[in-house]
């Protein structure tokens, strides 16, 4: 029974079905419970959150990643699966907290001051949440002082900065300088992304990494985790 629920969760993650309203890819699953309903059922059946995460959600995302790399899946498929996993994580958060299970880390993300472009940032946020990170999206056109304030108060492990424009990418450097001035630079890893920036630019302003896209960001974060371990 437990194995069945976990296998069904994994299957629905692969299908990208967050709730029973979602169509997924396989027509046969129409109106059957999605990841959210199934995770609820699993928790009610006293299945451990770790099993749900590792054997259901993460195992499902593993398959999705493989399908993406072979071009069977596209970004909308990845996002649907990541959203389903993200919603499942929201349901499980109280259980995880009471069991003192840590998430993979806190990730604050923002589009810098003067820039209102957020498609890339939003996609990265969805994918990271689906990958098991606790994501705090600060929004667009975020003043440098506000970013510093969040780092001080909420102590995220990672900060993602996004900028589309050549005129606003310089603000990323200003944020890093402000973190230094406030003695916070070594408290948080700073990742940058966006059409205007590059690996060279990340090094120039002293960021910890440049990420081409959300998938790359997950790999970079995993590498940080491994280095830390």
């Amino acid at each position: 029974m437990n194995k069945d629920i976990i296998a069904t969760i994994k299957k629905n993650v692969i299908q990208g079905r967050k709730t029973q309203e979602d169509v997924g890819i396989d027509d046969n699953l129409a109106r059957t419970p999605g990841v959210v309903e199934l995770v609820q059922q699993a928790l009610e059946s006293n299945i451990s959150p770790q099993v749900i995460i590792t054997e259901g959600l993460t195992a499902g995302m593993q398959v999705v990643g493989e399908k993406f790399s072979t071009k069977e899946y596209f970004i909308p498929d990845m996002l649907a699966s990541a959203e389903a996993v993200g919603a499942a994580m929201d349901i499980m958060r109280p259980v995880l907290e009471s069991a003192n299970v840590e998430t993979k880390g806190k990730f604050a993300i923002a589009t810098v001051k003067g820039d209102i472009h957020d498609i890339g940032k939003n996609i990265v946020a969805i994918l990271l949440k689906g990958a098991g990170y606790e994501v705090h999206d600060l929004g667009v056109d975020v003043p440098t002082e506000k970013v510093v304030e969040i780092i001080r108060k909420e102590t995220p492990d990672f900060l993602g900065l996004s900028a589309l424009l050549t005129t606003t990418m310089v603000v990323m450097g200003e944020v890093i300088e402000a973190l230094k001035e406030n003695g916070l630079r070594d408290k948080v890893k700073v990742l940058i992304g966006g059409a205007a920036v590059s690996d060279e630019y990340a090094q120039e302003i002293g960021a910890d990494a440049y990420c081409v896209d959300g998938f790359h960001a997950i790999k970079v974060l995993d590498a940080f985790q491994e280095a830390k371990a």
Partner: protein
């Protein structure tokens, strides 16, 4: 169910109605002054008996000046069918062409002498021996009957190919003028279940190839109902001449009631005026004269208005199929055929480039897009052809198929209707109300429905240009897929009744 082709919603037209009528009137005048020079006695007699004025021209070759009155042309045009059916071994591959419906069927061909093989040798950088690249190399050679089988086989599986004209001239040592027709018909029909159109090398072989088609279709009546083969004859030699032998072939095919293309291919600048008005008036007169002759031979003969106009290259005075004007002339001809409500045989995709590459892609895509948009019913779109129809490359045919898939998608009719708009308004309101304000979630139900065009199918990874290698892989996969050959019993009867077919083409004997 016939093949669906590409139905062009609003065909692109260059000429106004007034310009079309002016060309028509000019063509009528041409047919009476100067008229045609005809080298075939029988054609002259037929036209004369229906009211054409005939005058013998002195010279070494027997020829006649023939002036065809407008009334004779118009009357003949009335008897030409406005809908032509081209059948197929597989009835699902039938082509139904209405002269007034811009539904485009894409056809291969035509015959080339050279077959282009492809190889991918590896080169190492002189300055850095760790750097290697694979570069496509193209090797030309004379075409063979095996090549024709391979071409027919791959074209059977190319999704956008609606019908087959042989792409390569068979030049094996054991192929002669006498057995070429039966072998090219059998090799093509045995490896492809789509409609097959061809010219004839020898009139003596006409009855043999028709008999072969009857055996495959299931008898004489069955072939009439399902004409799996049709013919193309270049009876016209521009300017305004009917050649003796091909005119004779044309008359004989018409007598047998099988579909036929009256094709004219004047070259603007040499065998037709370089000005658009001039070449259009002339080619229209030439094609109408051919159609008139065909209808006088046998009223109701299914006929296509065949136009292959081309501009001359200024550096060599050879054909320049890649020139922009060539596409303009072709589009004008589509419009003229539509004026007469006759199905049109048009041309696109022929290029000046000698090998696949950027020039080839640009030249062929330009004409493929614009001529398809004009809505000819039978578009001979030169799948795989290079160097002005003298070279065929199977790899290029695979690329062309992918490009036509894109053209087909582009020509889909827009879906702007009230229910669709209401659904979109709902979607916009929903998405705007979310924190992320993205519509990506709505893509998914459409992702595998065919409503969203795909990535370029031969796209490489990163910056690598692997188009040719991917296309080559696809070509090999298509060759590995089986085709539905003619059944064993029919094959045995064909080999029994039709002389001259090479024994190695009998797959059932080969398998023994």
């Amino acid at each position: 169910m016939p093949r669906k082709g590409i139905l062009v919603d609003k065909p692109y037209e260059r000429l106004t109605r007034e310009q079309v009528e002016l060309i028509h009137q000019a063509s009528m005048q041409i047919l009476t002054d100067p008229g045609l020079i005809i080298f075939n006695r029988e054609a002259v007699d037929i036209l004369h008996s229906h009211g054409a004025a005939v005058e013998s021209i002195p010279g070494d070759h027997q020829s006649w000046q023939v002036k065809i009155p407008e009334q004779v042309v118009l009357s003949a045009m009335n008897s030409a069918p406005k809908t032509v059916k081209l059948g197929a071994r597989n009835p699902d591959n039938t082509l139904i062409m209405h002269g007034d419906e811009p539904r485009v069927y894409l056809i291969t061909g035509s015959e080339t002498n050279i077959w282009l093989d492809v190889d991918f040798p590896t080169y190492v950088s002189k300055t850095d021996s760790t750097k290697e690249i694979r570069v496509p190399e193209f090797k030309p050679r004379r075409g063979t009957v095996d090549d024709l089988c391979q071409s027919a086989h791959v074209c059977e599986h190319l999704e956008m190919v609606d019908g087959y004209i042989r792409t390569v001239n068979i030049q094996d040592r054991d192929i002669t003028e006498d057995n070429k027709d039966v072998n090219k018909f059998f090799a093509s029909l045995n490896n492809n279940t789509k409609h097959f159109m061809s010219g004839l090398t020898s009139l003596e072989q006409l009855d043999n190839v028709v008999r072969m088609a009857e055996l495959i279709a299931g008898g004489k009546k069955a072939l009439e109902d399902n004409p799996i083969i049709s013919f193309i004859t270049c009876l016209v030699k521009s300017p305004l001449q009917f050649v003796d032998d091909t005119t004779g072939t044309f008359i004989e095919v018409c007598r047998r009631g099988l579909p036929i293309v009256v094709s004219s291919s004047p070259q603007a600048g040499t065998t037709a005026p370089i000005k658009e008005a001039g070449i259009m008036a002339q080619i229209n007169a030439e094609v109408l004269a051919g159609i008139t002759l065909g209808q006088l031979v046998k009223p109701g003969t299914p006929v296509l208005y065949g136009s292959v106009p081309v501009r001359a290259r200024m550096d060599t005075l050879g054909d320049s199929y890649g020139s922009v004007e060539t596409s303009q002339y072709n589009i004008d001809c589509v419009q003229m055929a539509r004026f007469y409500r006759l199905p049109n045989y048009s041309t696109s995709g022929v290029c000046d480039s000698k090998i696949p590459g950027q020039q080839s892609s640009i030249e062929r895509l330009f004409s493929d897009i614009v001529v398809t948009m004009s809505g000819p019913q039978f578009l001979h779109c030169a799948f795989g052809l290079l160097d002005c129809n003298s070279v065929f490359c199977l790899l290029q045919a695979v690329l062309d198929d992918a490009h036509f898939k894109m053209i087909e998608f582009f020509l889909r009719q827009p879906r702007i209707a009230q229910p669709e708009l209401e659904a979109m308004l709902k979607q916009i309101r929903e998405a705007v109300a979310t924190p992320q304000k993205l519509y990506i979630g709505y893509i998914r139900p459409l992702l595998r429905s065919g409503e969203i065009s795909g990535l370029y199918p031969f796209e490489g990874n990163g910056e690598a240009d692997d188009v040719f290698e991917f296309a080559y892989e696809r070509m090999k996969k298509l060759l590995a897929r089986p085709v539905e050959h003619i059944d064993q019993e029919t094959t045995a009867r064909i080999f029994e009744e039709i002389p001259g077919i090479l024994p190695r083409l009998n797959i059932y004997e080969r398998e023994r």
